[in-house]
Symmetry: C2
Amino acid sequence: MSSRWHSPRTALRAHAAGPVADFDADGTPGYDGDKESGEKDLRRVGAELSDLQEKLFAQGRSGGERSVLLVLQGMDTAGKGGIVRHVGGLLDPQGLSVTGFGKPTPTELEHDFLWRIRKALPPAGRIGIFDRSHYEDVLPVRVHSLVPESVWRGRFDEINAFEAELAASDTTIVKCALILSKDEQKARFTERVERPDKYWKYDPNDLAERAHWDEYLEAYQDVFDTTDTDVAPWYLIPANHKWFSRLAVARILLETMRDLDLSWPEAAFDVEAERERVAALD
Amino acid sequence: MSSRWHSPRTALRAHAAGPVADFDADGTPGYDGDKESGEKDLRRVGAELSDLQEKLFAQGRSGGERSVLLVLQGMDTAGKGGIVRHVGGLLDPQGLSVTGFGKPTPTELEHDFLWRIRKALPPAGRIGIFDRSHYEDVLPVRVHSLVPESVWRGRFDEINAFEAELAASDTTIVKCALILSKDEQKARFTERVERPDKYWKYDPNDLAERAHWDEYLEAYQDVFDTTDTDVAPWYLIPANHKWFSRLAVARILLETMRDLDLSWPEAAFDVEAERERVAALD
């Protein structure tokens, strides 16, 4: 795999990737394999990810505080659900918590925008995946002027402070924005209205969102410019090829978890004494 | 697959399987394949399960009320976590909610024993897996006399009423008890004290539980005798061979979900009109 794939975290890091409006959603930067090899590599990445996840989980059960949070953002049809299914699906569900954030409920709206986010943070030892996140409060909320500019603009600092706090309390954060082209989005909407097994994914209101495409790009650019930090980095994931976006996210998650130097916890019992007790069982 | 595998739901149904004390934990009833074919069959079952799960999820998103709940019980080391990993791992994490029930917290103890269970029920469209469950309140709670007999005995009726209520509100319940032999449990404890990557799974207190083996069998037998109902059936899963227990649980879940006659929801929009709108997108 290493021969076909070089440092996705460097190539795809938001501040290195240039303006999102010019981003090539068709690309497979740093990877010279095709769909078939990509799917094979995804399984390989999955095997290693799954091992690291078990160590993380074991540490959590043994008093360790570390957790990992993968934040997914992207326009409609960009493939966030597919990442949950195909990357999250590589993991042990016992050590995984997936939360989708839709339009806030009335109760959620009575609280600060980070309230529902905090409630859904992964416990120690777990990997959390957020399908949409607190960034909704500086993306659609901004595009539709649901709060004044002074409010959403102030949220960038709040978000940075929040993420720094999480990092300081041993939550490792990885943020991936799935970037697809306008043409590809049209193709995916077409599929949803043509195929009866896709109807349920189609919401006529999504077309109204598409009319704000450029405003969304501008809002995303501000997000990357202000919240791509070393403790909570943003990666831009080319999403026109679903197989590549899945591989890229999985690989970024893997490299991030490798850096945690996870190891099996020490025995919390007297090993020799317990070996004798077990050997003496009837 | 069908050639090697006959009606696990008939062969393994608790009231047909006979006394749990005489149950053959080594068996692979109804299946004449080996570990290798079992793992292949598990992947095949997984593909169909995953398709049905997507339909269930789509229905949930389209107003459907149906959900599915898989309850797992079993002695220590019986492999409940492995079922979560290898059967739950066949499913889309987005449509899955896994809850482990350990010793109740002080807050949980202030409530009725079903309180924490109700809070964890899968929402519409989801599959829930309970790793231990409300049955803990008639198993260890009984064995250790944590409440008087009149209390735990009364819980059988409460449980039947609760499960009937769930079934009536479109939650399909499947209960699997993983049955392993005492020798196999000793072998698994041995592995946990011998292998540093398994230390974290070992709890010296588990040996004290093993000392109550026969009382647990008696408690399980009462559970099967009183709560194996048509709306919430119990299956006894031979668990000495992990590959078989995973295949058996997956297959029972699959057959149960096949019976739901799941189909893709109708379009919630005017298909022709939306096709035209999408075709006209820039």
